[in-house]
Amino acid sequence: MKKKSTVFIGILGILLGLLWLFPFYMIVSNSFKTPKGIFASVLSLPNPFTSANYGASFKALHFMSSLTNSLIITICSVLLLILCSSMGAYALQRNHSKLSGALLMVFISAMLIPFQSVMIPLTANFGSVHFLNMYGLMFMYVGFDCSLSIFLYQGTLSSIPIAMDEAAELEGANRWQIYTKVILPMLSPMTVTVAILNIIAIWNDYLLPSLVLPQAQYTIPLQMFNFFGEYTKQWHLALAGITLSIIPVILFYLFAQKWIIKGVTDGAVK
């Protein structure tokens, strides 16, 4: 009985997994094709096989330096973001006033504002204080992405019993200590989720950094778009580049999974 459903789940999982992987098969297999090979048949295996795209793409992307930039920007922004949004959510969730409800709604509504409509005044403001660089960018990310993160955190916080705060407070912990020592660790599965969602968003973002960053601080996607001219799209390089650039994210994700799992086993006790 248990067995049968496990087998069923396993098969379903494999099928869905293949379905989901197919486009990645296309990305990876085409990244090993010559430009001609790509368009000769997109669906087939690479023939002839070439790994030259990777070398070329690596060079064209200035991979090491743009990887460094991407890493710095992503990591710092996400750290800041997690700190701010989890604190914000904590403050909002534990405070049952009308004001906090309204504030949350404001945060949520902020998510609805299309980026395009604020980008001009935003860059104007940052430009006027000479903050159009990766540090400015980090702040912008915190600003833009904290709404969703707060929203996500807020929901999980409601399942962390208030008794946790109470116990810690009685033991003499101040708000900050309760937050860092008790709440934040208990939020870790959600933190990992928030981190993943924001990392991929920031890692792949093109528009905002393209407005903000000077050349020297270009990230991978910014370099990547050099492959996409109005007429000439260098798919062979782009696909190799894409493969290169998602490897760090996948590695992170796999690593983060461990954390999520761990967070669960730490999980709730009444």
Binding site: T6, I9, G10, L12, G13, I14, L16, G17, W20, L21, F22, P23, F24, M26, I27, S41, V42, L43, M105, I108, S109, M111, L112, I113, P114, L148, F151, L152, Q154, G155, T156, S158, S159, I160, P161, I162, P189, M190, V192, T193, L197, I200, N204, Y206, P221, F228, W235, L239, I242, I246, I250, Y253, L254, Q257, I260, G263, V264, G267, A268, K270
Partner: protein, 241 residues
């Protein structure tokens, strides 16, 4: 008064109205599909079986690639993959995808669902893992089947996740742009043009900023109203533990 004219003009702007209905249909379909599939995937990969972690990664991976590449890949799948499959299986409906509004619509839906359901999935996962195991156990003892446990215990207890995901899928559905651009670019003849693209085109391609602003305003009001009402309504049902 000049401003007002921009709004009344919208009522006769056929492309805008078409984009509106198209978007609305898209939103309805994707909100349902994304939440059902996202939650389904979340439930699937939170089962204890070998490879569930790998599957999680796989389902989430589409989010790691940006719009352009996505459009490229999927165009090939639709034009070549589908055609090849259609010929092999003699399923004529697999031919000619993206060449008309209907297949364009479903193409967009497929790509969106493929890409975003992993995103929705991990949000649901995060909340699913927060459900105290003991409550599920109690329900098992009470004789609840897997489905009953899901509807009566799991789902009510992840109500916040539902609120968040509804919101995200709603607002993203309305705001969707990249996929639209890269997959169909609104074509053919603007039949798959969605609101965001319509507004951007009005603003930047046609340079008609006043009209674009009016559209954006209407758009924002609609999205905000629907999304926030949804949030407000759903939050009322959530319980603090």
């Amino acid at each position: 008064m000049v401003g007002f004219k921009n709004y009344t003009a919208l009522l006769t702007d056929k492309t805008f109205i078409n984009a509106f209905w198209f978007t609305l249909a898209f939103v309805i379909v994707t909100v349902i599909l994304l939440n059902v599939i996202g939650l389904g995937l979340a439930l699937l990969v939170t089962q204890k079986f070998k490879g569930s972690n790998l599957l999680r990664t796989i389902f989430f991976m589409p989010n790691m690639i940006g719009g352009l590449i996505l459009g490229f890949i999927w165009q090939f799948i639709f034009t070549q993959g589908f055609t090849a499959l259609g010929t092999a299986l003699h399923w004529s409906w697999l031919n000619g995808w993206l060449t008309n509004a209907k297949t364009g619509f479903w193409g967009l839906v497929i790509v969106t669902v493929w890409q975003m359901s992993g995103y929705i999935m991990i949000i649901y996962i995060a909340y699913l893992q927060n459900i105290p195991q003991e409550v599920i156990e109690a329900a098992e003892i009470d004789g609840a089947s897997a489905w009953q446990r899901f509807t009566k215990i799991t789902f009510p207890m992840i109500a916040p996740a539902f609120t968040v995901c509804m919101f995200l899928t709603l607002s993203n559905g309305f705001k969707i742009y990249d996929q639209n651009l890269s997959l169909t670019n609104g074509g053919p003849y603007q039949s798959t043009q969605m609101l965001a693209m319509n507004i951007v085109n009005t603003a930047y391609n046609s340079g008609n900023f006043a009209a674009a602003e009016a559209k954006a305003m209407i758009f924002f009001i609609i999205v905000a109203a629907i999304s926030l009402i949804q949030v407000f309504y759903n939050r009322k049902r959530e319980v603090d533990l």
